[in-house]
Amino acid sequence: MSTEILYVNDLTVGFPTDDGLVTAVRGVSYSLKEREVLAIVGESGSGKSVSAMALMGLLPKSARITGSIRYRNEEVLEMSPKRYREIRGQNIAMIFQDPMTSMNPVYTVGDQLAEAYRSHHRVERKVALAKAVEMLDRVGIPQAKDRARAYPHEFSGGMRQRAMIAMAIINSPDIIIADEPTTALDVTVQAQILETLIEVKDSVDAAVILITHDLGVVAGMAHRVLVMYAGRGVERAEVEDIYRRPRMPYTAGLLGSVPALDSAGGKLHPIAGAPPSLINLPPGCPFSPRCPLVSERCQTEEPQLLATDLAHHEVACHNWQKVAEAADPTLLFRAKAVEA
């Protein structure tokens, strides 16, 4: 893991609505190395999916996107539509959350995979179909040749997501964006799908941006983690650090809400309250209304993502030292509940 293939810098995305401009992503920055798995973690509405869509150019035309997205030294946001189209699907592919609705119901699975291949390779349909069968086989679909002739509704949820993964890797991309790839699936299938994703990613040497709200999913897969809250990155670190040495109260809170085997029977400590409305953010740190460590400064000044005591570990919190001092940061939220 050496070369960075993707730089996202100060990415901001806003949508004009009847109620005013909704800024879904507010200055997010991250980079991605070759073959690396970067997890972007956050609650729904934290802007994690929108930032991925911005990267793929899949947002509605009305979206106001600023900042910079550089893919292999090319500015994506300034690309010609034609060049952008070449990159989409060929260099950067995407897997979506709901496999039930992500495939076109009126074409066979094989056709849809072949179409993805043919849109970047000038080959005959037969060749592309053979390629599609090969990919379906690689993601572990039995009798791939017959299944390629089936329609999406004849696949189970897990199978469909496998087919989506096959579609993503058919052009051997550099980057696969997986937007909550297992959220809509049965728990039993989730692990298999993630395993498949990791296997095929290695087989095509792709990097993965894994978008999820589930820290449990991140643990075994990701190399680095970016935690997002209210449209901003609030903590960025190696995966080990996130679990063992969180520096942001919000991350600690997320960890406290995940059941762990070694603490079986122990109580979960959810974060009280709901994420703020993006139209009407509180002044200062957007997490301050829910934060157990809230101080005067948090309510007036929004913290920036800055370095901490640990290497390659950045956090957007005025009081990260307090989190660092805590023996078990997840207990901060229990204290809050007791106080109430």
Binding site: R88, F96, N104, E115, V123
Partner: protein, 510 residues
């Protein structure tokens, strides 16, 4: 599938049976067919008339018996090998013969109008959806609501005045007058600025240029006497054919795909060549000759596509076929319009008709009779189209908007497909599913005749047959129109359901 169809047909027959009984009852309570003899003064003659009609219509039988007598004859129409007897009307004409006259008339009237409304409405609805909240979208939305709100008979009167009488007056002595030039300019400006779209400034500029261009072309046409002797000539036809080839290429791929572009252009040239080398055949052709020539040109085009198509063969074949159709239509239009001068003279300089489906006792070449049919169809077709076009444009806009937001359209974009492929292959294909159903139902409904349009424009179709019968309490005539209409509705309902299942693999008919 077969079991489903059989079950549906049986259920439909039961509904049909109940519906005929209900209708028969309604008709018999609506009035007395003998009532019109009230004013006959001579008592002997009156008794004679009443007796004759009573016998012809079985009026002395009890009501239920009358119904079953009618039903007995009608069943024969649905069972092969039995005589179809729908009785006689009050004038002692067999109803089956009346229907045989009226049905083709109605088909001629509604078929073209319905097909045109669907094509135009769907196309405009889709553009409107793709350019949601643009000036084009707002204009089309407003126009659709306006058309929805127009009483068709009111529009028809206006059409007769402004679409026929005044245009005929103008055509008698074509001259550049300010109102006509203004209308031409405004139309051209609106059309092109809507097609081009873009920013307000760009639309205004395009509109201005197109408006000026429209007026200029109009003045040129008047000055050259085009309106007295119109036509396109080989030059314009060839130009149009080449433009059609470019359009067909754009429809299926992009202009950078030179292979498909050249194949389409080749097909266009072949088409024009076939048409003009067959000129002697085309002076007074039959439909068979026309279709033969069309098929020949299409076959050559397809052959070119097959030979040179390489990996784009499928696309090239489709583009070739569309190009051939465009060329065929162009040649057909050119030939028809060219016969205008002769036709206009034959109808005393009143080319656009306001009444009837054809000029009585008119005889002329194939092109002249075609033009005669067209000039009679023009106004009623516009009247019908205004309303059903609005429906299709709204419906396909809504359907398209819904589909454009679907996850699989997002997936298609994420694959890196071109916007054209995303819109046509993924969005449009799915948006069409409910529209095809709607169109099938619509065809079933229009067979019954466009009652108001037929009445206003004096077409003797199914609608007029029905209203005249209702006015005279003519049971057999009413029931004849009704059963034909009802059968059409039920058949097209079935077609709608089957086409839904064919288009959407998720639906299984059981």
């Amino acid at each position: 599938m077969a079991a489903y169809i059989i079950r549906r047909v049986l259920a439909s027959l039961l509904i049909l049976l109940a519906a005929t009984f209900l209708m028969f009852t309604l008709v018999s309570v609506s009035g007395d067919p003998l009532a019109e003899f009230v004013n006959v003064t001579d008592p002997d003659q009156k008794a004679l008339l009443i007796q004759a009609r009573t016998e012809a219509l079985n009026l002395d039988e009890p009501f239920i018996a009358q119904y079953f007598l009618w039903l007995g004859g009608a069943v024969g129409c649905l069972v092969p090998g039995m005589d179809c007897d729908l009785g006689v009307n009050l004038n002692n004409q067999p109803v089956t013969a009346l229907l045989a006259d009226a049905f083709p008339t109605t088909l001629q009237l509604v078929l073209a109008a319905t097909v045109l409304s669907i094509v135009l409405g769907v196309a405009i609805g889709i553009i409107s959806a793709i350019r949601q909240y643009s000036a084009f979208d707002y204009t089309i939305t407003f126009a659709a609501f306006l058309f929805f709100s127009l009483p068709i008979f009111w529009v028809a009167v206006l059409l007769k005045e402004f679409g026929a009488i005044r245009i005929n007056n103008w055509l008698a002595e074509p001259a550049v007058t300010i109102p006509v030039a203004f209308v031409m300019g405004a139309f051209s400006a609106l059309f092109f600025s809507a097609i081009i779209g873009g920013s307000r400034k760009r639309r205004a500029l395009v509109g201005l240029a197109a408006g000026a261009g429209g007026v200029a072309v109009f003045i040129l046409l008047v000055a050259s006497g085009w309106f007295s002797n119109p036509g396109m000539g080989p030059g314009l036809v060839t130009l149009g054919a080449l433009a059609g080839a470019v359009g067909a290429t754009l429809l299926f791929t992009n202009l950078e795909n030179r292979r498909v572009l050249f194949i389409s252009l080749g097909t266009a040239i072949v088409g024009v060549a076939v048409a003009y080398s067959a000129t002697p055949l085309l002076t007074d052709p039959s439909w068979l000759t026309l279709f033969g020539l069309g098929a020949l040109a299409t076959a050559i085009g397809v052959a070119i596509a097959v030979i040179f198509g390489d990996i784009d063969r499928a696309v090239a074949i489709r583009a070739s076929v569309v190009t051939s159709v465009i060329v065929g239509l162009l040649v057909f239009m050119d030939k028809t319009i060219s016969s205008f001068a002769a036709y206009s003279e034959a109808v005393n300089g009143r080319p656009i008709a306001t009444i009837g489906s054809k000029t009585p006792n008119f005889e002329g070449t194939f092109w002249e009779t075609t033009l005669d049919t067209m000039t009679h169809l023009a106004l009623p077709t516009i009247a019908i189209m205004l309303i059903s076009f609005a429906g299709y444009s709204r419906y396909s806009r809504a359907s398209m908007l819904e589909v454009m937001n679907a996850d699989y359209v997002r997936t298609a974009r994420a694959k890196g497909l071109t916007e054209r492929t995303v819109v046509l292959r993924h969005a449009f294909r799915n948006a069409m599913i409910p529209i095809v159903t709607l169109a099938a139902l619509d065809f079933g409904a229009v067979i019954g005749g466009a009652i108001i349009t037929e009445t206003v424009f004096g077409w003797k179709g199914m609608g007029v047959l029905f209203t005249t019968a209702v006015n005279r309490f003519d049971t057999n005539q009413i029931m004849g129109v009704f059963i034909l209409t009802a059968v059409a509705v039920l058949i097209f309902n079935l077609i709608a359901d089957i086409s839904y299942a064919v288009l959407d693999p998720r639906i299984r008919l059981t």
